[in-house]
Symmetry: C2
């Protein structure tokens, strides 16, 4: 089985030293969220993750969800763990106190999301979409629905889903066919089949609240005629009690490569009662409130799994003896952690994982500002940056998660391929993250076409990076790194200009460059966050020399060994798409 | 289930146009292996692979090998398929006619190895090590053993294994503990435990011939005191019939991420009768005859699985409709093969897979020369190049196999993550290939320390590349590509000089650069082979315009989009190892 100890010290380092968004620090209600409180929450979170949630990972993989006679059963032990999980209030962490939540900012709840991803992605997915549904309802539903559904969701007694995909449409939601017919009481009857529904049915909660995209007859075709409905598994009476079963049935669950403890369902809606969320035909944009936050959470999954992979590879490298290290005077075989190549691999994992966490912390502050700042202009400005970073966090973090889990297997050698170590499970579990919530290519297209080519957010982003460079460029400890980053920022800007030019002359050039662009963007963003860490570390060196020297060293590794990847992506991308489009693929 | 149609046309293109090793064409016994004969063999091979072997892949994954009461049972249908497989003589394809083989050169048998890997790696592994054992026995055993064991192995009635690894030693064989005690009749009694033994036990053959590394008491410590023994599962009587059970027992089989239809065994040797192969204490070098050829075969596995992944992704892209392509005038959704980004991904798979096949064909000719040429000097020279290319083929092909199977899943979107399509199985099955027969990092270290730093093979290799460049540099269709390759060859040479310099001053710099070096070497080698294909394609354009235009286009893609990866690996590697070695990893 894998080990996992939540990196609370790392998280507290970010909370204490990198809470540097001026606007975040202006948010009134978060002023009392101090370091002691956060440390206390994270310590408790670390405990439940290690003791109760981590063991569920292996159980879920070995004894996956079962579908029998229309009923989905979760793996052994999941029910008991979930009971404890909601009793301790973990589903309510980031929710509004008005509905029973604890009102924690994203800067804190994201750490918890990471820990859950590290411990058991399958278990996490039971409550993850509940928070998604919560976000969607709180932003778009009317007060009656909020009052009726939110408290139980926040408490964790009811869970939520997102029902978008149909067998013929995943990425292209304009094709969806599920129908919604309006009734006399203003409710709707929903009919159709949805697939790939995470936690679509299970036995952990008393009710399941589906958020379903459907088409009202007579609506415009394509994405402009899609509406959003709340469809509970059990009808909820006016007093809040659950009543009769609604017309939602589980047709089957998928047999998957990983996340086997999480049921991925085919749901049949047959005249199911649903309630409109927001206005008719505007469903897709309401759903995107949920989707966008969810995409960032998927990125955090990639981060969490990377951390576990790193911890396990490191532990193994410290106990496995094999071969002699360079310059070893040892007569016996050395621990493999003495070998330069194994160390390189571990540093690769470490610098990427810590970099991702730090970048996520920057984005968490932006999200908090975008949701909670009192000045609307500030709010919108943060929101723009969040929308820019969303596809990057989602894709880059999950792709890097594949690299890291892959490297971790390699450290284990033959043992990494067997089930005993749990390390191959991380690789399989993480493999869903570049796919769901919009494949990473879809994210890359979103980044380029909607965020980069379509507005001015990019300049805002670059000015953030330049501000940091200004802080560093004259400092003798930092100038070399600032200079490197500057060079790659320039490359990113050239790449962006190339995209803008090609947008007018050859869209295929643009489309085929999106994935490379996202990667360049990701590596530069991580460079930005590592430069910040470098600056702080030099400032605070005397406070905790060992800790900050480690950070300085890891940053240097990132700049030396990883940031140069940008180069190849750029050269490759700007060679265009002529050969790509010409091929006949016979 | 996956589809697979053996790429016979591609293979025949190589056989007809790229059999360009002068020395290969001098081998007397291969002069009659003509195009018609090879086409006939490949067509038959394509048929058995598609009809009989391909279906075994899914079966083996869903109904893995079973270990019960000391006995290993293969998945349903494997026995029947294996019977047909040996009846048709496929195990004997590359073996010496003296022992019942068909005497085909590697240039032909490697195509067959690829097809088997494409169809079912699990099924392939039952006979793969038999050929390994055959190679080892034919080169190192005395005539009596050859006569006694080879005919049955060639016929496929008996299979073979390689027993190297013990729980405390995989890479570092010097640590091995299995003992061999000499008996009065010159046989030995072997005792010890071996793990990760592919096809260590099963029910497909009447006998299993284990080649076992063990230590004779009193031998030197480390790798200089290891001897090689032949240990049959059943004792073979002098008349060739199988007699009593030998002291080899299966303790368990591994539960693995993939290749579930292939049993990976823990074998207990308890006073098992064994026969010395070669001389005492020289076992490791005899085993390496087997290992080296086997490493190339593992590379071919990566190639074969890449081909299947590509074929399936392509087929799916031609039937799935989603979204609108750029400039599409279609009112409905377009086939995803119209999308530039999907096309880019498919071209990535295609150019890498075809490049790997062509490079493998070059190496196959070298192997044939190294084994069969009448001039010893020519033989040794080819052998040197083979030894240089062995770790490259093994590691680069299997790593690229991970990239390609990963990309293929991505083309399938959510469907790629479910078991129904078979595509995720390719990803899992291929994941063993960067591990077994020496992890890819071990290969990289072998390449750098034993092949590059230790002798002059590198210059021979470079002169091959320069010869090709000379042929191309003045041709208007080729000069731009020759120029690009030249630039990257220069980079490879600089990288090599850097290694040589650092070898004297900082071995850790060298060790931590090995993986990047191997990648650079791999990409440049593929560039070399693509340049050749380009030259031939322009020469033969009129013969088959569609075929050769496709090759020219795919080559251009490789040069534009993939070869630039070299750049980042180089910059990253030559930044050294200071941070890597300094880290405390607390």
């Amino acid at each position: 089985m894998t080990i996992y100890n939540a990196p609370v010290e790392e998280m507290m380092f970010l909370f204490n030293h990198l809470k540097d968004n001026k606007n975040y620090n202006e948010i009134e209600k978060y002023k009392e969220i101090n370091s002691d409180l956060v440390k206390d929450i994270l310590d408790q979170a670390a405990k439940i993750n290690k003791e109760i949630i981590l063991p569920l990972a292996k159980i879920g993989d070995e004894k996956p969800c079962v579908y029998e006679n229309g009923i989905v059963r979760s793996p052994p032990g999941y029910k008991e763990a979930y009971k404890k999980f909601i009793e301790d209030g973990w589903t309510s962490l980031s929710c509004d106190p008005k509905y029973g939540g604890q009102g924690m900012p994203k800067t804190v709840s994201t750490f918890f999301e990471e820990m859950l991803s590290s411990s058991s992605l399958s278990f996490k997915l039971y409550s993850e979409l509940s928070i998604g549904a919560y976000n969607c309802i709180i932003h778009h539903a009317d007060q009656k629905i909020k009052d009726k559904f939110l408290p139980k969701i926040v408490e964790g007694k009811w869970s939520g889903t997102m029902c978008l995909t149909e067998s013929h449409c995943g990425t292209d939601l304009g094709l969806l066919k599920t129908k919604a017919i309006k009734q006399n009481d203003n409710s709707y009857k929903i009919s159709g089949q949805k697939i790939f529904i995470t936690s679509g049915d299970h036995d952990l909660t008393e009710n399941i609240i589906h958020l379903v995209l459907a088409r009202i007859p007579g609506s415009p075709s394509g994405t402009k005629g899609i509406s959003l409905f709340l469809v509970p598994k059990f009808i909820v009476n006016n007093d809040g009690s659950t009543g009769s079963r609604n017309g939602v049935n589980t047709a089957s669950i998928e047999t998957k490569m990983g996340i086997k403890g999480s049921p991925t369902c085919v749901l049949n809606f047959e005249n199911a009662t649903g309630y409109l969320i927001g206005t008719e035909n505007k469903g897709l944009s309401s759903m995107f409130t949920m989707m966008n936050l969810e995409r960032i959470v998927v990125g955090i999954q990639g981060l969490g799994i990377s951390e576990t992979a790193y911890q396990n590879a490191l532990a193994y490298a410290k106990e496995r003896k094999q071969g002699k290290a360079n310059n070893s005077k040892n007569k016996e075989a050395d621990l493999i952690i003495k070998h330069a190549d194994i160390r390189r691999s571990l540093m690769n994992m470490k610098s990427l994982t810590e970099g991702k966490r730090s970048l996520a912390f920057w984005v968490s502050q932006l999200i908090d500002v975008s949701l909670n700042h009192s000045d609307k202009k500030v709010k919108n400005s943060a929101s723009d940056l969040v929308s820019l970073m969303t596809p990057v966090i989602k894709s880059f973090f999950t792709d890097i998660g594949m690299e890291i889990t892959n490297d971790a297997i390699q450290v284990f050698g033959g043992y990494g391929y067997t089930k005993d170590q749990g390390i191959e499970q991380l690789f399989r579990d993480n493999r869903i993250t570049p796919i769901y919530e919009g494949t990473n290519s879809v994210q890359a297209i979103d980044l380029v076409y909607r965020k980069i080519l379509n507005n001015k957010i990019f300049e805002k982003y670059i000015s953030n990076l330049n501000d940091e460079i200004k802080l560093c460029v004259k400092n003798k400890n930092l100038s070399i790194f600032a200079g490197k980053l500057e060079k790659y920022i320039e490359l990113l800007m050239n790449f962006t200009s190339w995209l803008k030019e090609k947008y007018n002359t050859s869209k295929d050039d643009v489309s085929s460059a999106c994935n490379d662009y996202l990667k360049v963007f990701g590596y530069v963003s991580l460079g930005y966050t590592w430069l910040k860490i470098l600056r702080i570390s030099h400032e605070k060196l005397q406070v905790n020399r060992e800790f900050f020297e480690d950070k300085i060293n890891t940053a240097a590794f990132y700049f030396d060994k990883i940031l140069p990847r940008v180069q190849s992506h750029y050269i490759s991308a700007i060679s265009g798409s002529e050969n790509i489009m010409k091929t006949k693929f016979n």
